[in-house]
């Protein structure tokens, strides 16, 4: 589909003309745009995300006995019980398609806000488009730290970014060192889009500040047909910890190639993404006993907070999978956004933005191990504490930070 400049202008004018009317009229439904890769290399992420949003939608639009915002009544009480309707758009992992789809959602589908997008590179263009139309963009599962520092007023992210995630990793290294584990050298392995680049930048900054030596910093091309040259360099560097920032495809190939070239690091501490995905463990889980990944979610929380287990069961019924790092953040993003729309009592972009900025949800009313949801002036929630999970015996166990840990880390990995 092509969008001409004139269509966009027409659409924008029409939206501007209709908005005040829509605001005054009795609202029966609130439309929210959800944009993900539903085709292309990361299509599975989009498919899983859709199930996570459907789960959140069910919780919001129906009555449940959960201590979550909006769970206890049907629809949005602030808008006379209006229901939320989601419109999905496929950006195929391409920033330019993301921009076009965001325009279409805003001008033609008349969405009140957009959530997305999995790839950080796409979040860049989608959030810029939202800013131009003064429509809030809630970043559910993008982790690049540079996203919230661009001075956007309509950008909000409840989940941690990769500086926070990486900080958690280095806190963990420091703690392990105190116990006598030798951790001096690190090898970074990251893909070449904004996700991998930002992640590696954050890790380099922390390593330099905290006195860890980076002995290999390997940037590779995403979806490469072969990673043997890259793995060979990692093997030669032989760092104490290998730190990959990779999506699923490259993650699988990395682990397979490492086995083929006889490279076995003492520890792998991954920047989630592919290393949170079931597909990766289905393919190469036998080679990953003891791998550590950062996460924003931990199923161990279900022991303390029973609703986490119940919501996981609802999600599993739809998707056949447990909630993971990505799908849990997607679920929470819609809850946080709906809570703001409910308090805004309006579907106008500016009013929702103001309500989002005033958000204050205590950690117990989320499914995450977070302290609370409260946005700073850049739209980032700094109270979202990440966790580190270790893959032991076919499931993830929380090993850090101490207040969330249920087990000691196994080091070195098998």
């Amino acid at each position: 589909m092509t969008i001409t400049r004139r269509n966009v202008l027409l659409g924008a004018t029409a939206t501007a003309a209709l908005l005040p009317v829509a605001g005054r009229a009795q609202t029966t439904e609130v439309v929210i745009g959800v944009t993900y890769p539903f085709s292309g290399a990361s299509a599975q992420q989009g498919v899983d995300a859709q199930k996570a949003y459907e789960t959140a939608l069910e919780v919001i639009n129906n009555k449940y006995d959960f201590d979550l915002p909006l769970a206890n009544d049907e629809g949005l009480a602030g808008l006379g019980g209006a229901k939320i309707r989601l419109v999905y758009a496929d950006h195929q992992g391409d920033p330019q398609k993301g921009r076009a789809e965001a325009e279409r959602l805003i001008t033609q589908e008349k969405v009140s806000a957009i959530v997305g997008t999995y790839q950080s590179a796409v979040a860049v263009t989608v959030s810029q488009t939202c800013e131009r139309y003064q429509i809030p963009f809630v970043s559910a599962d993008n982790s690049s730290p540079s996203l919230h520092t661009r001075g956007l007023k309509f950008f909000f992210r409840a989940a941690p970014h990769d500086e926070m995630f990486s900080k958690a990793m280095f806190d963990f290294y420091d703690a392990m060192k105190k116990k006598g584990t030798k951790i001096e050298t690190l090898a970074l392995f990251h893909e070449d889009t904004i996700f991998g680049t930002d992640s590696a930048n954050a890790q380099t900054k922390l390593a330099n500040a905290l006195g860890y030596k980076i002995v290999a910093d390997i940037k590779y091309r995403a979806n490469s047909p072969s990673l043997s040259a890259e793995v060979q360099q990692l093997k030669v560097a032989n760092a104490d910890v290998l730190m990959p920032s990779s999506y699923t495809t490259d993650g699988i190939l990395l682990v397979k190639t490492m086995a083929e070239l006889g490279y076995k690091p003492n520890a792998i501490v991954a920047q989630a993404a592919g290393f949170s995905e079931k597909a990766l463990y289905d393919a190469v889980g036998d080679k990953l006993e003891g791998v550590i990944t950062r996460g924003s979610f931990s199923l161990d929380l279900a022991a303390k907070r029973p609703m986490v287990g119940k919501i996981n069961a609802m999600f599993k019924e739809k998707s056949g999978k447990d909630l993971n790092d990505n799908t849990s953040r997607e679920f929470m993003a819609l809850i946080v956004l709906a809570d703001a729309i409910n308090r805004a009592k309006s579907t106008e972009g500016e009013k929702i933005r103001a309500a989002l900025a005033a958000t204050e949800i205590p950690g117990e009313q989320t499914i995450m191990p977070w302290k609370r949801v409260k946005f700073d002036e850049m739209g980032q929630n700094n109270d979202a504490d990440p966790v580190l999970l270790q893959y032991i015996g076919g499931k993830f166990v929380t090993i850090s930070p101490p207040q969330a840990a249920v087990a000691e880390a196994v080091w070195p990995m098998k």
Partner: protein, 292 residues
């Protein structure tokens, strides 16, 4: 950089290069035969990998045993693509070139879409096989067994292809049709039959490559895309239409890719391939072994 690192990189590059050659040869064969570039070549590879995966998942057939079956299935598929689509596309009265491009390009998109619909976009892997995960180590150089097998299959396929084209009646008919598709009709060779068999053969070869690759690569609907791009460069480098150019081109691409990664950051390793390609275009535009 130690000698070991250099030898390891070149060995990995050579093994990968032989596989690139096997992937590309079907493309070269079809182009040489009838001047049609098959833009669905990557998707042929993709369905071969899925076929191998499903044989493994449902019937527990090892990819190595599945390879001949997959090649046979792809032969039928390739011939069918010619008879049902390409045969009509080449008859176009106007803009024949465009019609050919769009017909195979459209086929690629349809195949990808159907794969996503029926197989889901999830990443599949053959989790255990005779060769999977095995590695031999010679003096500190690691050679993964699946890639060694791929290289062996590739060499065998090229030797077989050489004898097939040069020593059999069908091979001669293939060469003759390639020379002059109009004239062969006068001596009683059915052009359509030769073309259909050529497409079948080209698809069977990529089927063979797909079956071996399924041992060590992940499988999903878009998996063909990155290999197809390399296949096009391989064919252009080796010489359009030259089957043995594809073999040499594959090896060159594999070695250049591996050695670029030794010198430049690995994210730029494909730069080496394209630089060599541009150099070839500059010095010898028809490709290394091109006869056109």
């Amino acid at each position: 950089m130690t000698a070991e690192t250099i030898i390891q990189s070149l060995a990995s590059g050579l093994l990968m290069g032989l596989l690139y050659g096997l992937i590309a040869v079907g493309l070269a064969l079809i182009f040489g035969l009838m001047d049609v570039v098959n833009f669905a070549h990557g998707e042929f590879l993709m369905i071969a990998m899925y076929a191998t995966f499903f044989l493994f998942a449902f019937l527990a057939v090892d990819p190595l045993l599945a390879a001949p079956l997959v090649a046979a299935a792809l032969f039928v598929f390739g011939a069918a693509v010619y008879l049902l689509i390409v045969r009509f596309a080449v008859r176009a009265k106007a803009n024949a070139g465009m019609v050919q491009i769009f017909s195979t390009f459209g086929l690629a998109i349809v195949m990808r879409g159907l794969a996503q619909y029926f197989f889901t976009p999830d990443y599949r892997s053959v989790t255990h096989s005779y060769l999977g995960g095995k590695t031999v180590s010679v003096a500190g150089i690691f050679l993964p067994v699946p890639q060694l097998a791929g290289a062996a299959v590739s060499v065998a396929a090229f030797v077989g292809l050489y004898f097939f084209i040069n020593r059999t009646d069908f091979g001669r008919a293939l060469e003759a049709t390639r020379e002059d598709a109009g004239a062969v009709a006068l001596v009683g060779i059915d052009k359509n039959r030769v073309f259909a068999l050529g497409w079948g053969l080209g698809a069977a070869l990529v089927g063979l490559a797909g079956a071996i690759m399924a041992i060590f690569f992940y499988i999903y609907p878009d998996v063909g895309a990155s290999f197809a791009l390399i296949a096009y460069v391989t064919v252009a480098l080796g010489g359009f239409g030259s089957v043995f150019g594809a073999f040499a081109g594959g090896i060159v691409v594999g070695l250049v890719e591996a050695s670029t990664a030794l010198i430049l950051p690995p994210s730029l390793k494909s730069v080496g391939i394209y630089a060599v390609y541009l150099l070839v275009v500059f010095i010898r535009p028809r490709g290394l072994f091109g006869s056109i």
